[in-house]
Amino acid sequence: MLYLERLIKNYGSFRAVDGLSLHVPKGDLFGFVGPNGAGKTTSIRMLCGLLKPDFGNIYIAGYELRRQSESVRRCIGYVPDFFGVYDNLKVREYMEFYGSIYGIEDMDIKKMTGDLLELVSLSGREEDYVDGLSRGMKQRLCVARALLHNPELLVLDEPSSGLDPGARVEMKELLMNLNSMGKTIIISSHILSDIAEMCTSVGIMNRGRLVTAGKMDDILEMGRNTHHVIISVSSDTQKAALCLKELPGIELVSLRENEMIVNFDGTDQELNRIIGSLMTAGVMVSGFRREETNLETLFMQLTSGAPQPGMPGQQPMGIPGQQQMGIPGQQQMGIPMQQPMGMPGQQSMRMPMQQPMGMPGQQPMGMPAQQPVMQQETEMQQPEAQQTGDIQPEQQPAGEEVTNTQQGDMGNGNAEV
């Protein structure tokens, strides 16, 4: 349904989206999560045709945005985080306006408006003025509007922001309902519990990059394969960290204020011994516990200590081999590198470094066979990114060159570390 191919977007010298590649298959409810400034909204605006990428391609339902923007727009229903409504316009007229833009006949608009308003629980509000509706109602009306032309893909940017808990639950149920009807939905949100509950797949972005993406179960499983223990200390954490380094079978993942997160794959007795050793070394341990793995903790792990883009010696997640997260120079967060998006039984999601789109003889899943244009495009652009230097290398911050080289390798599916 959706292919993003090595998208890059710069705002001046700041790179908001850095080589984003993603495939969302038809029927998925894909959650886009990441901290503020991670590049989620920029990515969403690019795929909706509201922003021009500096580099890369976007394919939706087999159409290329660059050349078939009208067809792409016909396939998309977009619900932004903030949107305004026209004064002095009734709900019915609001729907009529957008329906007429899509060339839908008046009678059909009338019928569809009734059905859609019922779907979003706004029946009987047809004659109300739009600017008189509550925020939650406006948000639901916007979803109804986005569905008016029966798009294949629904894109929602922070649809729950500013909603009260009740409206949030309604919105969540609505989206799950739509997904069960076969709509492909992409949703960006900060509310990770909602994402974990309703999404079938998820992508985590940080600093413009897709840190990881995959089916929700696989992503959560990836987190379960880590054995994190949180040790709370009331003395100097730096000293505690040094002591910890001396101990076998344990590795430091990250340091927080009065807390150390370590990776430890051992029994409780062994853990007790380690805590004892720390205390013997003079570290005041005030408590310790095994970390529960959910999307929130995984998100924190992946985004809090993520490597700086382009920092030599570090790699973005997903490169075959060992992942490095957190403090540079240390072997950390030894998540077994099982390629989150290429796990057995999960063929739909691909990490950027996996099989590039349009590789001769290998049609990506779900891609219509009518896309010879895309194949030529990809083949042409792969080496070009480096040959022509059209990504404006002069705008890249120091160290960015290393990152791009890695990306080039990733894009060719032969990432080497």
Binding site: C48, L50, R74, P80, F82, V85, N88, F97, Y98, T388
Partner: protein, 304 residues
Amino acid sequence: MAMPKFKLPGKIRINPIVKKDLKVISRSMKIAWGVFIYEMVLALVFFFAMYIIFDAFSSYGYTSDYQDFIALFPIIAGVEFCIIALIMPVITASAISGEKEKQTFDLLMTTVMTPRAIVRGKVESAVIRMMVFIVGSIPLMALSFTIGGLSWWNLFVTMIAFLIFAILTGSMGIFASTLTKKSITGIILTYVFYFIFGTMSVFPTLIVVLTSTFASGSVISVLMLINPVAAVIEMFMLMLGGDTLFSGNPLGFWSGWGWVVLSGVAMLLISWGLQRLAAWRIDPLHGYIIQEKRKKKVKGVALN
């Protein structure tokens, strides 16, 4: 014998933006107050002009010449042109920036509506709103026709001139609206455009006049084609009889009604150009294909 199949022409589709804008504006009191103030201004001008023209009314010995009523026509029409020039930027300069301010613009841009259709819709709705004002002034102007002796043809031509002028100023306003984020800046920018347009035609004309040659009349008439003020003056002079601005022009077609028509066409072309520019400005994907072509070209060079 098989009967030829006649297909009824498809339903005329009104630009959805025009439909929506007119619906929204007709529900607010703004337009009603606008028309009221506009009529008030015209009425004041009308009575003042009457007073100037027929000041001898106070005298018992005065005998009225109905032909004098014809003088009201250029005065009222001139004032209307000035009001259009003042109002159109206010209506159009907030068209795009207003959508952005209200955060409705992004929703429009994700629909299948092309930037050109959006711009066209905005200009059309602004012109229609302006025509409400213009039509409202017909009774005042009609006095010159019923009493003064002007023909209905003259009224029709004047309406067409108003329409073209409204399209030109509306297009300038829309273009200015795409350059700014705030409506007020857009309005000011449109007035700046007026100045630039005026300078573009008047300044070279002055140079031609100062360095007058035998063909200066023809050159001036060409330079003044894009000047709406010159077109309006020429049109009134032609209607009222007597000399025109370019009456001494040796190139026959470049004077008289021919010149007025050409000027109208030139202004419509400028409007079209400004609308295209405005559409290009608001298109978020503009340059996306060009970027690709440029890359291909560079790549071709690199491979060679």
